[in-house]
Amino acid sequence: MIQLPQPDPGVLSRRAAIVAALNDALPGAVIDDPAETRAYECDALTAYRCPPLAVVLPRSTEEVSRLMRLCHDLRVPVVPRGAGTSLAGGSMPTEDAVVIGLSRMTEVLEIAPEDRMIRVQAGRTNLAVSGAVDHLGFFYAPDPSSQLACAIGGNIAMNSGGAHCLKYGVTTNNLLGVTLVLMDGSVVELGGPMGEAPGLDLLGVVCGSEGQLGIVTEASLRILPRPAGARPVLVAFDATETAGACVAAIIRAGVLPVAIEFMDRPCILATEAHCGAGYPDCEALLIVEVEGTPTEIDEQLALIRDIALRFDPIEFRESRSDDEARRIWLGRKSAFGAMGSLGDYICLDGTIPVNALPQVLAGITDLSRRYGLAVSNVFHAGDGNMHPLIIFDANKPGDLDRAEALGADILRLCVEMGGCLTGEHGVGIEKRDLMHVQFAAPDLEAQMRVKDAFDPHWLLNAAKVFPLDASAPRRERRLNRPADAA
């Protein structure tokens, strides 16, 4: 079970006054009825829930700034929220926190195709960013599977990735600038042309800081011309290790497909039952997608075919039409839904060096046997970002604890093999206490100093990212020095 810190009793006792002050500051934007704040009590890590003190839905940078200054002066904790699709508990509130949600900030502010840039309010969904430039032949590259729902502000806070980041990079590589509201209400523009500004790369450290340094209200994003075309192939193997070795060989050969996706047998069986994509009967399969003009696609696929055949696949399935291409992707795209029908699951997100794939897959199989819980693998293999899904039964006493323990062991294995705890979902509350596995005390201290610089009172999303024991001295300093004494 994940521990949550005790709420600040000083804040809870001032609840009515705080809500009144919020209402004064932003009439019509405050939600404090417990029946309605319930909608904000969790994100996509649904096993953990806590209703906030109140929710406020501002419409502009100026309104966010006004709210932040107020909360700062009252020493009330704040949890920023985009669409609430975090899988790590990043946007889960605490009882003493005001949630500042950006769901009303969805405007497009500027489209500049000649600068290959779009500027939007941070509550706009990822897909609606690409949607706004589609008619110009452009797209926004990072494409998390949650792109229909998740907001750009959440993407920036989590430095989200997607299936196509092997070629285009993750959010931080496609972010040119943000408007950031600091906890004390001050507003600052970070970044600039090419994402660069004089001085330290503040934009670089804000991206991926999980809503702990400020609230992003506007973002300038790099947009790219849409490629002429794309085509996937499916390669099936009789052993997961062979599929892993094939991924490393493709990378080594110098071909960089836009995506290399991996699915193992349990996942293939689940998706077949769910949507009947017609995948071959095999232990593991890869979906490799390349982009470009027809010539370019043919050239790249010929190379990939040569490499794959060296590994003696059961099948090398090419797509000769849009419909065949769609069927190749069908099972992969419905994988999470299909796994959901098997039972409850925990989705891990560890990343490993690509050449360690065969070993780590074997290690996960061992652990899964030892814990007696099924693990299924579906992930972005090209960049080593694994998504082992642990299947359990939430109604069976002790099963969640066992699944969490297995998850922790798998992540330890990833770190041991030279990888990390999370490749794209973020630390949140979920992996917070495992941070000690990856980082020594000075490493964490250096990160916490950054938060000290942006948010000296540790009011912003403070119970996340850092192990509670490591952040305790800083968080408790605030409790011992409430606003009226400060």
Binding site: T172, L190, T295, G419
Partner: protein
């Protein structure tokens, strides 16, 4: 002082009582840098891990850039961000200045290829951040913060980069008749279509330059289609030589000072209108280098971006940094280097 190990380096910092200027090859200094006593990183050398099949290389900071490049080339790989180098450049300097060449358009700058670091802060603590995998959001990204920090927060001691395959084929198209301002629409056109351009620049005497890389058949196909589209803007040729290294060799006239201007490409024509012929344009017009008489400053219209004097005696930055950004820079420096051991400028 030229320590040979990370531990010795940490010791030197702990015992330091006066400011130090962290120094690699001293090939990328800006005006005002390098005044304090040098702390030489060139004793920390060696590639500690190279896994071509995982596209990763780990190297100590004092290792010459040339050694890194030779090692990668032997395996058909490269630093994708194409850093400029002068004799003596170290890989630590490349990271600390966030170096980037023409391919920044496609693969980003040093910051984007840097996967992990080891560093020493102003109190002598050894700090690790990032790692050696391509996707990593575990904790704050101090890797980005340190890339381009120019020695103001700490000493980088070891770096892990994502490497890139060397593309098998390359073609450079040029539009020799275009002056700098006229080159912008040509570069913009090329970057706005699906040609996957890996360099978009302008050089005096060479005109607009566009680079296409990849597999041979695809490069030929893209070159033909792009040439056809560009023809309306001027005569298009295919370059016989490799002009891209010339972009690095600008601004050598000692009587003049070089300014580096970063802007939105759409604003470049207005900026160029008030300047003498630039030394070069890169990144589709987002980067302008121009030489001006010593002590002068460019006459710039209002624009998004900034201009910096990168050679000469006195620091120069337009516009001045806003107060909140300045405060955050100052706060971060105070926390990483509370005793003010590391020299630095804005």
């Amino acid at each position: 002082m030229r320590p040979e190990t990370e531990a010795d380096l940490a010791q030197i910092i702990r015992e330091a009582r006066a400011p130090l200027s962290i120094t690699g090859g001293a090939t990328r200094r800006w005006p005002g840098e390098g005044a304090a006593a040098p702390l030489d990183t060139r004793g920390l050398t060696g590639i500690t891990l190279y896994e071509p099949e995982a596209l990763t290389l780990t190297v100590r900071a004092g290792t010459p850039l040339a050694v890194v490049e030779d090692t990668l080339r032997a395996e058909g790989q490269m630093l994708g961000f194409e850093p400029a180098g002068a004799p003596g450049s170290t890989i630590g300097g490349v990271a600390a200045t966030n170096a980037a060449g023409p391919r920044r358009l496609q693969l980003g700058a040093a910051r984007d290829a840097l996967l992990g670091i080891r560093m020493i802060d102003g109190e002598g603590n050894i700090i690790r951040n990032g790692g050696r995998v391509m996707k990593n959001v575990t904790g704050y990204d101090l890797v980005k913060l340190m890339a381009g920090s120019r020695g103001r927060l700490g000493v980088l001691t070891e770096l892990t980069f994502r490497t890139a395959p060397i593309p098998p084929a390359r073609v450079t198209l040029s539009l020799p008749d275009l002056d700098a301002a006229a080159a912008i629409p040509a570069l913009t056109l090329a970057l706005g279509g699906a040609w996957d351009v890996s360099g978009a620049a302008w050089l005096p005497g060479r005109g607009a330059l566009l680079r296409l890389e990849g597999l041979a058949g695809s490069v030929a196909e893209r070159a033909a289609s792009l040439s056809a589209r560009l023809a309306a803007l001027g005569r298009v040729e295919q370059a016989e030589d490799d002009p891209w290294p010339l972009l690095h060799a600008v601004g050598r006239d000692p009587a003049l000072e070089t300014w580096r201007i970063l802007c939105r490409p759409s604003q470049a024509p207005a900026i160029l209108a008030n300047l003498p012929q630039p030394l070069s344009l890169d990144w589709g017009g987002a980067l302008i280098h121009v030489a001006l008489p010593a002590g002068s400053a460019p006459d710039l219209p209002p624009f998004d971006g900034h201009a910096r004097r990168v050679t000469g005696a006195a620091p120069g930055l337009i516009p001045a940094t806003d107060p909140v950004t300045r405060r955050l820079n100052t706060e971060l420096r105070a926390r990483f280097d509370p005793r003010g051991i590391f020299e630095g400028c804005d």
